[in-house]
Amino acid sequence: MRALLIRDLRLATRAGGGFGLALAFFLIVCTLVPFGVGPEGGTLSRIAPGILWVGALLSCLLSLDRIFALDFEDGSLDLLATAPLPLEGAVAIKALAHWLVTGLPLALSAPVFALLLHLPGPAYPWLVASLILGTPALSMLGAFGAAVTVGLRRGGLLLSLLVLPLYVPTLIFGAEAVRRGAAGADPVAPLVFLAAITLATLALAPFAAAAALRVNLR
């Protein structure tokens, strides 16, 4: 298991691995929005929680199809499926690797991008907390979508449409936690819901994804 995690991280950080793609996309969203809606601080700080969460979610979406597609093309997925490692474990590890190279950097760098959007000061810790709690669910659900669409030509399009509705609960509670933090209200309730969604996803999605992979490898 550790070997698979190390390999995926190594592949992601080497040339052509796509590390930084999500961050760059997040930066683009956060710099373009002020140009689009105008520079008034009042407007920006009101929409900042939503924009930050939508931006993070779309950045995650960008690299999802790589989770299994590359392994499928070069035959590694066949070999992993015949390896002693359970396929459910392989799926979980690959989703973890995806989170470590997209979700975690997004969460840690979000405060910098939040400056561009005039996010009110008290919301910063809640922004980081909500992203750290919420993005694992995005990676895991994405791994499920990637498993269902692996091997399809232009599967990326179908993948996005497939996981988008699954992302909605995470987005609602994540953005709500940041919004409450910005308004000085208590953000614990949406954070608890966010954590519950993530935990349920982590518990169920590996099995669904592994089942989908088995069908697609036939």
């Binding site: 070997a3 080497r14 035959g75 499926a81 390896a83 399809l152 069908v215 036939r218």
Partner: protein, 210 residues
């Protein structure tokens, strides 16, 4: 005690039966060469034996974790070096050290080279070396000698013979002579499925919607 026994096996590709009624058993040290025209179902048969797809009918008896599969693609990552690729599979399968495998397929000089800088034949040699680090007794080989030159085919035959000598077994789909006189040959032609009726359910998502 046979390593792999197959009784009355039928396999399907794309919902159509390819071959049916195949039976054989492999003892330690045994090799079986699958022959037959293109499209008869050699790859499908090997993938079924590897557990990648279910058999339509019949029984496959093999010890758990006995089978190592080597298909058309080698499962290499272009960004990783030869050593890193091989060590990864060794750790995943919990197999033996990679030194012997590097030696057997004459890859030592290429050990530090990234896989994207290898030629097709060198990649194949690395893909075959992977079999050694799985530490598994039954090798399923699908056209293992594609893009190998004559010297590399000899290397591979020597590696295969050493594997059989250690009590391993192999099922090989190939058209060329490997120089394994002890190998049994199974012509798949007579086992071609007679009726080409569709299996009732599509085999997968891709087939249903692709």
């Amino acid at each position: 005690m046979s390593l792999l026994a197959v009784r009355d096996l039928a396999v399907a590709r794309g919902g159509l039966r390819a071959v049916e009624g195949v039976s054989f058993s492999l003892d330690p040290g045994g090799a079986l060469v699958l022959r037959g025209p293109n499209g008869i179902g050699k790859t499908t048969l090997l993938r079924t034996l590897a557990g990648l797809q279910p058999a339509v009918a019949g029984v496959i008896e093999a010890a758990p974790d006995a089978i190592a599969y080597a298909g058309h693609s080698d499962g290499l990552k272009p960004a990783l070096t030869v050593t890193e690729n091989l060590r990864f599979w060794s750790e995943i399968f919990g197999g033996p050290d990679i030194a012997a495998a590097l030696e057997a397929m004459n890859l030592r000089e290429l050990a530090a080279r990234p896989a994207h800088a290898l030629s097709a034949g060198q990649k194949r040699r690395l893909g075959l070396a992977r079999l050694m680090v799985t530490g598994r007794p039954v090798w399923l080989l699908d056209e293992p000698t594609v893009s190998l030159d004559r010297a590399s085919v000899a290397l591979f035959a020597a590696m295969l013979r050493a594997h059989l000598g250690r009590g391993g077994a192999a099922v090989i789909a190939t058209h060329i002579e490997l120089g394994l006189p002890e190998a049994e040959i199974l012509e798949l032609g007579p086992y071609r499925a007679r009726e080409t009726r569709r299996e009732s359910r599509p085999a997968g998502f891709n087939e249903a919607f692709g």
